[in-house]
């Protein structure tokens, strides 16, 4: 039987506010445990929450970014459950009246195909603290630094049909929140976390299968693996005559498996009710219009501009627009070198490859956009050839010079385009390799094309890579033909 997976994602984005959603404590990552938890975060008796306006602003910007209806009156509710890292015994969140209503996010798949994923809603809530199970001799330590950090929970409709689509969706969300500057999007530090609702059904069937929720997926790589694993598990289960049970499953990245956390029967009754300590959040048109006027160019708009004005492919435009930092780097490089296609090739090729290898973000690149642009300029004006350009890039990366020109000069990589000079090298190579010259001349004309490669290699080597390859090719052919 042909199976179809149905996937919906709940993405938790930590908003980049200075202070927490309901208190003045700092949200900075990595501080000493419990050093950034004030009386409100600790849930001491008598404390009260006060809503951070910045969090509201960021949520509205997200809503505008996904073309959503903004909730004119949103309401905070309490989700009640006991857990040691939940100081008040309830999480303040939104339920019936979220701040962001239905919207839509466009995604691009690896083959360039585009799809729209509907957003069900997005709501504001506070994060919990962390339970630390190691280093406490069988006991559990509690760090409440994270408690009260503002989160935007973005809930999609079950519109995705494969793990790859889920990854593409997550990347779109990542791009959007980083463009908007409402989150640092740092998945390693937990700034974006994802739960996936996964079900399978026979292809063509309308009704949805029973879903499982997979929690704790914290990287693009894991989300693909976790979802694929879950899809396979469900298909196998059904094909073996079993039934999927609605439950929450935890993804274990070390073992690459999901395991049952709790079933529907064991699910908490969260006893939601409106939080009496907080007033409803009422937003008027003037406020929303003001925020609309403050919106930066978003990935969609950037992508369209890259395709229409710069003539890039949809796929390239999508990659380059995937983060604000990447797009800004590309734009700067392109402005300096004056060639969008070359700039795109270099940013997506050499630069991204090296960054990935070193595990760096584009913001951390040792080669600045200005430097890369300067390098590409010298390729375009034929000062250096492609091979030399890679050497220059490596030297820039290692900090051997400030500009491409400095390095070209210092290393003598300037391309030789003087016919006489190239001819002298060719003569030398032919004199040193008489047997190969004989072979070439004895060969059938259609075999010669391949054989010329040997001589090109020798000439380039003798010229230390500086000879213009096109000229070498042309002159070699003339001389070999004799």
């Amino acid at each position: 039987m042909q199976w179809e997976a149905v996937i919906g994602l709940e993405v938790h984005v930590q908003l980049a506010t200075q202070s927490k959603i309901f208190s003045g404590a700092s949200t900075a990552f990595g501080a000493e445990p419990n050093s950034q938890a004030c009386a409100v975060d600790l849930g001491l008796p008598g404390v009260l929450p006060v809503l951070n306006e910045k969090a509201v602003e960021m949520a509205v910007k997200f809503g505008l970014g996904v073309k959503a209806e903004i909730g004119r009156r949103s309401i905070f509710e309490r989700k009640n459950y006991f857990y040691p890292d939940l100081p008040k015994g309830y999480q303040t969140t939104q339920m019936d009246a979220p701040i962001v209503g239905p919207g839509v996010v466009d995604i691009v798949l690896e083959d360039g195909a585009e799809r729209s994923i509907r957003i069900h809603h997005a709501h504001l809530e506070e994060d919990a603290g962390k339970s630390l199970h190691e280093d406490f001799q069988g006991m559990t330590g509690i760090d409440l630094n994270r408690a009260g950090t503002p989160l935007l929970e973005i809930v999609s409709e079950p519109d995705m049909r494969s793990a790859k689509e889920a990854v593409a969706y997550l990347k779109s969300i990542h791009a959007l929140v980083t463009y908007l500057g409402i989150s640092d999007g740092n998945m390693a530090e937990g700034s974006m976390r994802c739960d996936a609702n996964v079900s399978v059904r026979p292809k063509g069937q309308e009704t949805l299968g029973t879903r499982c929720e997979i929690k704790n997926i914290n990287s693009f790589r894991f989300i693909e693996r976790a979802i694929n694993h879950e899809i396979e598990r469900q298909i196998e289960l059904i094909e073996d005559g079993g039934r999927v049970v609605q439950e929450t499953r935890l993804y274990d990245a070390d073992l690459d498996e999901t395991r049952s956390m709790r079933s529907k029967e064991e699910a908490n009754d969260y006893r939601y009710f409106p939080c009496p300590d907080l007033l409803p959040v009422d937003l008027d048109d003037a406020y929303i219009d003001y925020l609309r006027s403050q919106m930066p160019e978003l990935p969609e708009e950037k992508k369209a501009r890259f395709v229409e004005e710069l003539g890039l492919s949809v796929y390239d435009a999508n990659v380059l627009a995937s983060s604000r930092a990447m797009a800004e780097y590309f734009d700067r490089t392109r402005e300096i070198c004056g060639d969008a296609k070359q700039a795109a090739n270099w940013v997506m090729g050499e630069l991204t490859g090296r960054l990935n290898k070193e595990g760096l973000e584009i913001q951390q690149s040792p080669v600045a956009a200005e430097q890369l642009g300067g390098l590409i300029k010298r390729i375009i004006d034929n000062t250096i050839n492609g091979k030399a350009a890679k050497q220059v890039f490596a030297a820039l990366w290692d900090g051997e010079g400030h500009t491409a020109d400095d390095i070209i000069e210092a290393k003598g990589l300037k391309q030789v385009t003087d016919t006489g000079a190239i001819e002298r090298v060719i003569d030398e190579v032919m004199a040193n390799n008489p047997a190969q010259v004989e072979q070439y001349r004895a060969a059938e004309p259609d075999k010669r094309g391949k054989m010329v490669g040997f001589f090109v290699g020798q000439v380039m080597k003798a010229s230390k890579g500086t000879a213009n390859p096109q000229m070498v090719n042309q002159l070699l052919k003339q001389k070999l033909e004799g």
Binding site: P45, G46, V47, L48, V50, N80, R271, F273
Partner: protein, 482 residues
């Protein structure tokens, strides 16, 4: 000295008749002599009171005294006081010392008032007799067999017994007004949002309101002017200027129309209480007040509505007392569940547990619509009743409680009987209105209070009527023989 009102004490201090230190010593001596029988204080802060008194005297000598500087008072043990235990009448918080002070406490501290200590109360303000306190019941100074009322029973009894000239109280369903009535003192529950709730341990957040308790309306006016005001730390406090409540005290009452809700004078009201109220109505008529019968048709629904909403909020508010970060923790917990169950089981008393269970039930999935949502709908109906009445009349007058103070132990095995005590007070909290209890006479040697109820933010009008009434009566000047 101890028979003087707050206003007279202010005059005495200003004229140098006595110092704050002398005054404070006199009250501390009286507490030491009489409170063993009354049990109105949980904590007496002798040393810090004397220090504060000396600081107040120094401030006066420096010419920087305000009207209230150097006057002693006591705080209900629900208000957090930095460095002094805040128990909320519960074993759960027997060891809790808040690292901050409630806004109300801070404001009165800034006036230079001298805190004598923390007064006894029903556990977590849940009760109408002060019998649910972990620190034992408070005795009514008028009759040791009688309860003082609750939950602010310690504050009311201490004022009646001249152990303090004034105290703070809180009122969620009648907790200032009913003990004021039972102890023959004056108490005001302000409009919801008039006084900050920051640092006031929450029972039912949408109903809780702090207010002044003293011997006279004039004293309450003086205190309320210092306590009230918007607090950026309490989102539900209201941004609205605070009038000088004393300046309106002397307005004449002619032309004023007061409504008598017929539902407040029907079955269930003790005849002796009704007689006292009739006499008070005649006194006010003599002062030029016109009376008019009005109806609050949904009055009978106030108790069921209140006993859903208040426990629902309480069940969530009290979740933070889990033995993890502060408060009572059981010995040798076996695991997390054991820690929760035993810490809460041991730390909370029977009435608190009862209300947590009622509230948890009311918010449960499948019951929410039938209970919590319905109760909120009733709450709106009750509010509309009051607003409709205020279209016809300026204020309302009625009993505070159906009877005078009942005997200790007579109702605490019958929660429903106990809840019926609050029939005339709960609706005012549900509607967020200001209400006050004014001594109106005695029945069989026990005090009777009359309740005045005003539209939102009409505290000045209530105080005006009460003050004019107190100018022509002496019920508020009677002192119990200890």
């Amino acid at each position: 000295m101890i028979d003087l009102t707050l206003t007279q004490l202010a005059d005495g201090l200003a004229q140098g008749d006595f110092t704050s230190r002398e005054l404070t010593d006199a009250y501390l001596a009286r507490i030491a002599e009489h409170d063993a029988q009354i049990n109105s204080f949980i904590t007496v802060t002798e040393d810090s009171a004397r220090q504060a008194a000396e600081a107040a005297d120094a401030r006066r000598a420096a010419g920087q005294a305000s009207l209230l500087t150097g006057i002693p008072l006591a705080h209900k043990d629900i208000f957090c006081t930095q460095g002094v235990r805040t128990s909320c009448g519960s074993k759960m918080l027997d060891n809790f010392v808040a690292p901050y002070s409630a806004t109300v406490v801070e404001k009165l501290d800034q006036e230079g008032m001298v805190s004598l200590g923390k007064t006894n109360m029903d556990e977590f303000a849940m009760g109408s007799s002060n019998e649910s306190s972990f620190y034992g019941p408070v005795r009514n100074p008028w009759d040791a067999q009688a309860v003082p009322g609750g939950s602010s029973g310690g504050s009311a009894a201490a004022i009646a017994a001249r152990l303090t000239p004034a105290a703070t109280g809180t009122d969620t369903g009648g907790s200032i007004r009913q003990p004021a009535s039972f102890c023959g003192i004056t108490g005001l529950k302000p409009t919801y949002g008039r006084v900050s709730r920051w640092g006031m341990i929450a029972y039912a957040s949408s109903l809780d309101q702090g207010g002044p308790m003293a011997r006279t309306a004039e004293d309450c006016a003086l205190l309320l002017s210092a306590m009230a005001g918007f607090d950026p730390k309490d989102s539900t406090s209201i941004q609205r200027g605070v009038p000088d409540y004393r300046s309106a005290l002397d307005s004449p009452l002619s032309g004023l129309t007061i409504g008598l809700p017929k539902e407040y004078f029907g079955d269930g009201l003790d005849a002796s209480v009704a007689d006292v109220l009739q006499a008070a109505i005649r006194e006010l008529e003599a002062l030029g007040v016109t009376f008019k019968d009005v109806s609050l048709p949904n009055t009978r629904l106030a108790i069921p509505s209140y006993y859903v909403i208040a426990p629902a909020e309480a069940s969530s508010n009290l979740s933070r007392f889990d033995g993890v970060r502060f408060g009572h923790r059981c010995e040798n917990p076996q695991d997390l569940e054991d820690l929760y169950k035993r810490s809460r089981g041991e730390g909370f008393g029977a009435e608190v547990k009862r209300r947590i269970m009622i509230g948890t039930y009311a918010l449960s999935e499948g019951f929410y619509d039938a209970y919590y949502r319905k109760a909120q709908q009733i709450r709106r109906l009750l509010t509309q009743d009051f607003l409709a009445a205020f279209n016809e009349v300026d204020l309302l007058l009625g009993p505070v409680a159906p009877t005078t103070a009942f005997n200790l132990g007579s109702k605490n095995n019958d929660p429903v009987q106990m809840y019926l005590e609050d029939i005339y007070t709960l609706g005012i909290n549900l509607a967020g209105l200001p209400g006050m209890s004014v001594p109106a006479g005695f029945a069989a040697g026990r005090p009777v209070g009359m309740q005045l109820i005003g539209p939102h933010f009409e505290e000045a009008r209530l105080l005006n009527v009460a003050h004019q009434y107190q100018r022509v009566t002496d019920h508020h000047q009677q002192a119990p023989a200890l």
